[in-house]
């Protein structure tokens, strides 16, 4: 598949209500799968205070998003190619100024992300929760991939986050990934559970990208700082990511959900002062 720079990229956040549900694992493996399918993919680490996409991939970037924000570097200087055949715009970890960015600076990050060209898919790996920075990044992307697992707290927090985004910003553009589930049936059960509650209390339906089945190879791949889909392309998990990547690619096709996604017209304005 060839890239078409004039076409606007698919932009999606990978987010979660609760930390530790496998957000970054999903981002990295989804990006590697999409890249293997011939897409030009960029991952932006938007977990500004405690970034860890670079750790997942075993890279030590010299520059980060911080250098763009404080005027020391341009995006093209900061973006690096990584294992898995995609690009990474890394953030930095443990920098307090980045954890509590002024609203104005968040708008600048948004403008930077929207100005990047030449990509088919841009995945924004956000922090967890409902902090203003996380909400703002989720508004930037026309689609929000919400990762959750079987834990009750992860389900409740995912719901709370979607509720805030819906009630405050009118969002209903959520696609779920059930991570670390026993099998497909288990994933579907979790999805139908939270989907039913969203329909009942919030009045909109959720979209399901599919499950990521539990696999012994997962912790090993994380230790080796390598996307699992590269190390073990024949695994159950890799097959799951193959299906999810197929569904994500579909967002690029014109369709009923392709146009006028609520929230994008607000965020695409891009405010720079």
């Amino acid at each position: 598949m060839t890239t078409n720079p004039s076409k606007s990229p698919i932009i999606a956040t990978v987010t979660s209500g609760k930390g530790g549900v496998g957000k970054t694992f999903v981002t990295v493996n989804l990006a590697a799968t999409l890249a293997a399918q011939g897409r030009k993919v960029l991952v932006v680490d938007c977990d500004l205070g405690l970034a860890n996409v670079d750790i997942m991939l075993g890279v030590h970037p010299r520059l980060s998003l911080k250098d763009i924000l404080f005027g020391n570097a341009l995006p093209e200087d900061v973006i690096i190619p990584v294992k898995g055949g995609f690009h990474l715009l890394p953030a930095c970890s443990g920098v307090r100024e980045m954890a509590q960015l002024l609203y104005e600076k968040i708008q600048i990050v948004k403008t930077v992300v929207l100005s990047l060209e030449g990509y088919d898919v841009i995945l924004l790996d956000t922090g967890a929760g409902i902090a203003e920075t996380v909400l703002q990044f989720n508004l930037l992307a026309p689609r929000n991939i919400v990762v959750l697992n079987r834990e009750l707290t992860s389900i409740t927090d995912a719901y709370a986050m979607m509720k805030v985004l819906h009630q405050v910003f009118g969002r209903d553009t959520f696609s779920l990934i059930a991570n670390s589930v026993a099998d497909e049936r288990d994933g579907e059960k979790i999805f139908h559970h939270i989907d039913g509650i969203c329909r009942r209390f919030l009045g909109f339906a959720l979209d399901y990208l599919g499950p990521v089945c539990r696999d012994e190879a997962v912790p090993k791949s994380i230790l080796r700082q390598e996307p699992l889909v590269l190390a073990d392309p024949g695994s159950k998990t890799s097959a799951c990511f193959g299906r999810i990547a197929g569904a994500v690619s579909h967002w690029g096709q014109p369709g009923p959900r392709g146009q006028a996604i609520p929230g994008t017209e607000v965020s695409a304005r891009g405010v720079l002062h």
């Binding site: 002024l102 609203y103 104005e104 968040i106 203003e132 009750l152 389900i155 409740t156 719901y159 709370a160 509720k163 805030v164 009630q167 405050v168 910003f169 059960k189 979790i190 139908h192 559970h193 939270i194 039913g196 509650i197 009942r200 209390f201 607000v266 405010v271 002062h273």
Partner: protein, 289 residues
Amino acid sequence: MTFPEPMPTTPKTKKSAKSKSSGARKRQCLNAILGENRTLKAWLRPGKGSPTEAFVILADGLSSKDREFLASTADLVVDPGEDLIGLIARLKRENRQLKSLSLSDDLTGLYNKRFFSIQLEIEMARARRTGLPCSLTIIDFDNFKEINDRLGHDEGDRFLIQMGGLIREKLRPTDFVCRYGGDEFAVIMPATSLLDAIGIAKRLREFTAHFTWKMAVQVSASFGLAAFEPSNPMNAEEFFKRTDSELYRAKKAGKNRISYPAQASTQARQREAVARDEREALFSLETSA
């Protein structure tokens, strides 16, 4: 040269005694320097106010050094042959200009409408930078006209000064209390959400009610509230209009009440994040199909 001792005075009150003795002392000192016949005391009665003491120095025939020194301490220097009427006209004109540049309200000492307009723009720009909402409250006293009509304008003025002071005292140091005009006060509350502003307005209304219940004329306060969220592209004029229309709603609904946009009640629900029935539904994963 020796300075004479200040004249003994019999003070009526502490304050007048102090000003009298210092005025008298100043006059005695100057008399000693200039000679008895060069100074005189006069009383001016501007408008309806109490007479103001004017201390006049006749400074002709003095050395230029002495003249310069005296001119530097005087409020007004009139040269012989100067057009006095022209001078007064010029001073009046300058006074008007200064007044138009003034940022405070003459009567209450609070900020005025001019300051309000400038500061509102600044606070909205700040909200756009920081992401923190800014709230605005307009307070209007119901039946204020009756104080003026029945008790006189002096009483009306005194009421406004007291209420202005009360609002200023009860609000936080970061809030801007302005007299918008007449009996209307506008308060800019930076870094304040609508929910916080509602809580503050409720307490303020209780304070004003506590203050006014013993008055001869039945007076209460109506409040209009609105909040500016940086994600909302509103300008200062629209923000003010929005708040003012809430005040109008409060007045129309029977006065003595607080009015704010309905969206605040949904925000109040969000404060509990996930409500109990939602929580129960979420917890039922194992029992659901």
